[in-house]
């Protein structure tokens, strides 16, 4: 597993630090990754693509409730929806809500400088093809990260 040695801190200073290790984690897993992808007036932090599958990831240092809200719109376009959370431990409330909503969960550890899967995302069948096509088209101009 690729790690980033960011510091001896126990917490992330910024979301971009979290995203940096998240990108390496996803690339290690065989995904092609793009950042800050526009989706219906919002910006998705990370879109990870494997073959024709698109996984939309909201990265948050701790505000997981906001991430859950943002994920609702992502259901209109993505095959899998995930939250990458940077808290020291994953709260049971978040885990419970993620399971209910079929949202995947990735824990990103500042102290370890690495990520692990906590909950795999369920296949999202709520997407709407016309909007998904627009979303995929809109990603073409964005370069790959990692």
């Amino acid at each position: 597993m690729t790690k980033i040695n960011i510091s001896t801190r126990n917490s992330f200073v910024s979301e971009s630090e979290l995203v940096d290790i998240l990108v390496l984690f996803l690339v290690d897993q065989g995904y092609k990754v793009k950042l800050e992808v526009s989706n219906m007036g919002q910006s998705v932090d990370v879109v990870a693509n494997k073959k024709s599958w698109y996984m939309l990831v909201e990265a948050k240092i701790n505000n997981w409730k906001r991430a859950i809200e943002q994920c609702q719109a992502h259901r209109m376009v993505g095959d899998h929806i995930c939250i990458a959370i940077g808290t020291k431990v994953v709260s049971t409330e978040l885990l419970k809500q993620a399971k209910i909503d079929g949202i995947g969960l990735i824990h990103c550890s500042a102290s370890e400088g690495s990520c692990t899967w906590v909950e795999a995302p369920q296949k999202n069948t709520d997407y709407w093809h016309p909007e998904r096509e627009r979303f995929i088209e809109g990603m073409k101009e964005i370069s790959y990260a990692g």
């Binding site: 910024s14 989706n39 016309p130």
Partner: protein, 445 residues
Amino acid sequence: MPASHWMQFATFAEQRHFVYPNENTYNGVVLNANMVAHAPGGIAAFILEKTGTQTSYIIDPLTHAYQHNPEFITNSAGALKSSIKSLAHFYGSPLLDILGDRPLLPRDFSKTENIVSFTKNVIDFQNNFLSGFMADSGSAKYLDDVEANPPPYALIAPYFYFTETTIDLWLDVYKKCAIQASEYVSDISESKFFLSMVVSQGVIVDEALYSKIADSVADIDCDGFLLWIDNFDETQASTKELEGFLKFGRRLRHGEREVINLHGGYFSVLASGAAGSHAITGVSHGPEFGEFRSVVPVGGGIPIAKYYMPDLHRRERYRDALQIFRKSGWLESSEEFHSNVCNCDECQSVINGDIANFAQFGDGNIKSVKRKTGIVRIQYPTTETKMKCLRHYLSCKQMEYENAANQPKTKLLDDLENTINRYEEIVGLDGISHLRKWHHVLSEI
């Protein structure tokens, strides 16, 4: 009597929509005086060429603008906005004496001569300023004298913003201006004479306060009021605020006076009709926005595409509307959509038999925006998207006004209840709470 339907002029980009969906949709246009001062030729041409033959206009003198912190009437460079400055020159003293230095205060009107001259100038501006520009307009030669120089529907007295703490400080000046204006208008014009009532939300929930205001103007000879409650979003207001709004409207009506809510939505439309026992008589809104508005401007924010939900009577972000429709199965086909969501001309035109075309209500161009955290990519609605959303909104508005005018109260309340039942599981209790409140308040009348 149906609610009079007014729309506010915002920018010249929307001017062609004042005859949409048809020429007789709007009873009138509300023009802000600073826009009139800034672009009189364009405004004159707009009135003569872009509005229906039965569409009147009112010029809101915007005298309240000068009582706030001058920073709200300055541009990003710190200079007074040119339109505000132009207007101030017409209004004269005491405004010109303090312009840009400090806000207007009640003591600036301590001299009777200031009340008289200021009031006269405010009325004269509304009554006379556009005349020459209308005469010079290219279309004037095709019109008779009256058609080429239509007077305003009503002339508005100078007015000031009342909050719970400033009513007692401004009311005397307000009343003196109102009396002065009433006498002057009756001498010079056959236009109606209105007062403008701009109040904070705290006023409408305090019966003593709004009664005081209403009582103070009860004896003034006027035909009606423009009403503006600061940032009064009917879809977020409490039951008490909605009730206060109706009661205040009724007090101002004093029997037969007109009361036009300058920034209102469907609740105001209902309030104007049988459902609200005619608490007010008319409603104005902007071209898609402006169903509520802050007295002190609060700008900013990224423009996003919003689709007006006919059943919920409010605009939703495109992505939220999409989720609602997807969840409900109304995006399965164009037939499902038109049966369950909207069958207006614009939706029929956009969807054109292919439900995938609904996405056009959310189309945008992606731009990179610099944030503290780095660059993010945000989608801004295209001009075409904004126009589609606007035309759909205006079609819905026309249907709302027509329904409120033609349906009995029981049917209108049943419609609210049916929507509550239909949408409860889709949007949750919070999503339809405003309909419950409206139903409750209107049922109690």
